[in-house]
Symmetry: C2
Subunit: 417 residues, 2 copies
């Protein structure tokens, strides 16, 4: 493998700890005297030759990066299509890499990114350009194949469980004369991993959450309402966690219920609003509902220490794999035991990861479909364990870093995408 530079790119929705992986990449590469460029706004920046020179960032900035949420170099939702359809893009990418003597490409993303990494590796081989192309796993959805869990998920899981626990203490205090049902919508369009994590808040029977609605289970309105009604009668109040991806038996998303404002415009909103409205209308109970939206995946202040450690480890290992000349690989998390929780990094072929989705196993849902099993809890609990709070400044806010993100001088003509 020739010496050269390393390009790091973030892809897809960001997480509370994707920058932890970025910091690990930069820190590890620096130890190996390898210069790191970052693509501004992910693959879009790579195509436009809009590159960032991370060597302009101080060591302290990179340390702060490890506890800063969001994507420090910018990420994007831009999916490269097949080699046939988008060959020009792939060839342009290789041109950009060649122009800057970039010999290592680290792509930090989910399923799509694994697929893109593979295609880039294939084109570089075809064009005779020596390139170590390595995936770095990341997604709050926890739906990546092969790896035991995905960096990013543990922190959104911890945020979700803590939030359900706290808000439910509030609801319980007031239920005698105020809100009886509290609904919280969580992310997860296809897989109910985040909804399942809410179940960790339930330490004893009749603790919240009392009902979890998973995208894996078709929604049964009558059964759901009966469950809520019975819970309010027994406990005095009820907390419902609903995944944004919950569907009717006919496959339509609950969120597509067809709400319109007074002008006839379709309403934003989603599963949480729909469930809250339904409970209010059908059971005549006072309802409150919450939609944490981006708050859940950016809540670095309540990040999981386990997740933080995973994110650092995959970033550091990805650099070592690249420098060792691996192509089309991804460092993944291998669980060695649940209790005590032990894990190590293994190396997977991207072909085993790309374009697959890891769904919630059936054995993780209770028979009635409204809760999680002991097996699910054994799997999830280590992932939210430990705290890794950012340092706070004198003004009461976390000390998140904004990088200089100095541009690398361009060498190629403009390229329109």
């Amino acid at each position: 493998m020739a010496s050269g530079k390393l390009l790091y790119a973030q892809s897809g929705g960001v997480t509370a700890v994707i920058n932890t992986s970025a910091a690990a990449v930069i820190d590890t590469a620096r130890r190996h005297k390898v210069k790191v460029y970052a693509a501004r706004n992910g693959i879009i920046g790579a195509l436009r030759e809009d590159l960032i020179d991370t060597s302009r960032e101080s060591a302290s900035a990179i340390r702060a990066l490890a506890h800063t949420p969001g994507g420090a170099f910018g990420s994007c939702r831009f999916k490269l299509k097949s080699l046939d359809a988008d060959r020009a893009h792939y060839e342009r990418l290789i041109d950009v890499l060649r122009a800057h003597d970039i010999r290592y490409l680290l792509y930090n993303g989910g399923n799509d990114s694994a697929d893109t990494s593979l295609k880039i590796a294939q084109v570089s081989r075809e064009l005779g350009y020596e390139l170590a192309c390595i995936g770095v796993p990341k997604t709050v959805d926890n739906d990546l194949a092969v790896t035991d869990c995905c960096p990013g998920f543990g922190s959104v899981a911890k945020y979700t469980a803590v939030s359900v626990l706290e808000a439910s203490l509030d609801v319980a205090s007031m239920a005698q004369s105020s809100t009886k049902v509290f609904v919280m919508e969580v992310m997860g369009r296809h897989a109910g991993w985040i909804a399942a994590a809410a179940g960790l808040a339930q330490r004893h029977p009749d603790d919240a959450p009392h009902v979890i609605l998973f995208p894996e289970r078709p929604f049964d309105q009558a059964d759901f309402l009966a469950r809520v009604k019975a819970t309010v009668a027994r406990v005095g109040w009820c907390t419902v966690v609903v995944s944004e991806g919950v569907k009717h038996p006919d496959g339509r998303f609950l969120a597509e219920a067809g709400s319109r404002d007074s002008f006839g415009h379709a309403q934003l909103g989603g599963a949480g609003a729909t469930i809250a409205e339904m409970v209010k209308r059908e059971l005549k109970l006072k309802v409150h509902w919450a939609l944490p939206d981006y708050l859940q995946r950016s809540a670095r202040h309540i990040a999981s220490k386990t997740d933080h450690e995973h994110a650092w480890a995959v970033g550091a290992r990805a650099v070592e794999l690249a420098l060792d000349g691996h192509v089309g690989r991804m460092p993944v998390i291998k669980r060695l035991s649940d209790a005590p929780y032990r894990w190590k990094i293994e190396v997977a072929d991207l072909t085993k990861v790309a374009n697959r989705e890891k769904m919630l196993p059936k054995s993780y849902l209770t028979r009635d479909g409204y809760g999680i099993t002991a097996a699910c809890r054994r799997y999830l609990e280590p992932l939210i364990r430990g705290e890794a709070p950012p340092p706070f400044a004198g003004d009461g806010l976390p000390t998140y870093v904004t990088l200089k993100n100095a541009a690398v001088a361009r060498k190629l003509p403009d390229y329109a995408i």
Copy 2:
């Protein structure tokens, strides 16, 4: 003043630190060898003679209470009317207190509770029942008169500022190809204190939040949309914080925009959904929105240390005032200086607090009405300063306590309310 027991009651919406005041009350009373009862579900429990014997709780449970959100004994939204209208209730209250030799009543709430405390004090005097009736300030809305700030507000303020900071880092990372406008709805039906606290996240010009919508300012749709459009053009994205109480110039709440679902039922939701839908429809920009709802006022994990200290101090001082025979008083927070932030507890007459509302001063809003001034920042910043995280258990969740809440044996006939 005769010796006797102390009754503590929580009132209205709970906060992240109302239990801190409760713990301070119990801890201080124990040091003075005074037995503390708590009213189950606030004044409702006092009327029903549904009392809790806190002497059954261990010292470690009371220590844990100090970092547990929600209202540990239950709170309620039940407003006693005037002495003429509700005299029977007031007299029943005195009967209950007399039956249990309760000589100190501590009522932990907001404006309404201050008024109720005064009326109870008046009836006890009329009936010749010696009672020290003391208010303990609490409200996330920060709208209590006389006190410089309200315990409960500093923590929701910190949660709000941190959440806006974090979610905006997420939005900034993705804006190139995804969400351009992020909307977050915060509590505050009449006064924009919580919305103002979001402004603390803005450390530099063009930092988020770019637009804050206060209930104090009539909403101007055209001007607002122009502001959002210009921000997206200049910064690349825009974060909007909207108070639930924002109103149209004609006084209607924005949340009453008349949204209906496909069955013609009025939609739940509110100002956040309305603003998000408006930006999407009028500016054709990709929008996400968040509604933290109860999460914001129960987020003990990100409580402000200043707020925690205030909450403890007013609880402890209230006991001392009661034992010293004060009637119709409330310990309040007096600010001595902004920088360094210094404060002390003073004593206010409840007549000065009851039924008043402290609005956001005009000088705290920028001339355009979309941001906070330096004066506002000087006032708010000390209130979110410092962290006071709860201890976490091995399962990754905070160790919040559930009290035994053992009932005191009843001595009186049932009373219907």
